[in-house]
Symmetry: D2
Subunit: 116 residues, 4 copies
Amino acid sequence: MDDLVKAVLAFRDERDWKQFHHPKDLAISITLEAAELLEHFQWKHPGEVEAFLAKEENRRRLEKEMADILILLVSMADAVGVDLLQAARVKLRENAAKYPVDRAKGSARKYDELVS
Amino acid sequence: MDDLVKAVLAFRDERDWKQFHHPKDLAISITLEAAELLEHFQWKHPGEVEAFLAKEENRRRLEKEMADILILLVSMADAVGVDLLQAARVKLRENAAKYPVDRAKGSARKYDELVS
Amino acid sequence: MDDLVKAVLAFRDERDWKQFHHPKDLAISITLEAAELLEHFQWKHPGEVEAFLAKEENRRRLEKEMADILILLVSMADAVGVDLLQAARVKLRENAAKYPVDRAKGSARKYDELVS
Amino acid sequence: MDDLVKAVLAFRDERDWKQFHHPKDLAISITLEAAELLEHFQWKHPGEVEAFLAKEENRRRLEKEMADILILLVSMADAVGVDLLQAARVKLRENAAKYPVDRAKGSARKYDELVS
């Protein structure tokens, strides 16, 4: 991950693109790339998703969209001054508190709708 | 990153949530979390964004949304069978080819609109 | 629709909000409201969607999100100088040409993947 | 608007597409079309947005994306059993109560942050 962060920032700085990396515009771009990822699943029912994923070339397409999102997240973390990995670790601990294993196991309910 | 991947998958499996992690639903959730990140910038002009980012508590909020996206990306990479870091490295090389330094430097144009 | 357009613009102007209705910000808001609409379906499989829609109060929730999108579309049409209804009529004719009945009937394929 | 609703539903039924119009998939498509609308503004600062909008062909592009959203909203209203125009009228009244003219005038604050 450290190497990726370095590579992403080097890519940006070689092109003098930091000037364009306003956090609002990065947030827009992350949303747009997420929509491109979602677009691959548009109108597809579960059987069609399975058939789609069975093809190597389609997994390569998804991979590219997911890579775009990660690259933009790394750029935004730098622009905003956030440690992305550390933030994910902390958030995962918070999620663990919101969704205790004994109550959340096998349930897709939101934390405020969990039954005890 | 390896540790994060392990922690994310352990979190999921302790709760028996793999059954809910259909790639289409993960793609929906990534889009929704991206929208929550973007929502912090809604209606804000540049000066207001700056004032917003100057507050530690707001950076903590953004950090949580970014963490949610990363956690979902890691979950999706597992569900689809993709190596996220490797995909980002490959995509960065492709972007470098699409945006050569000498033509892309200081320009926000799309690769197919770059002037030589 | 004419009455709605008048009401939306009167609402905006009474509050002196035209100054905030930059097309980029309106496009962000439309995306965010669309995500709020989608959020009601997050993680739900078809049976759960049906149960959700069977409740009057849930249809009222969806209705509100859809209303928000329409109100923003009307605001954006005014900001950009577009006749929304006329645009929809024209687009529907274009879609009819892209998806001829004899080839598109009963198929969810995209127009460039239709079989003749 | 009545004519548009009739035309949208006739378009759908001639192609036997009602079977694909699951509310969840329609909500996904509305989000994706909203993202396509937003994409036209990606990385553009205010001056660039103005130059973009000054060109007739660009307004035609925005118009098409906005038309797509309206057509999908009409389809969803039918699928869910909602009167879209009536919902917008009701929502506008609710917004008027949340944003009283004397407190909201000239302010971009959210209703729960309005100062009295």
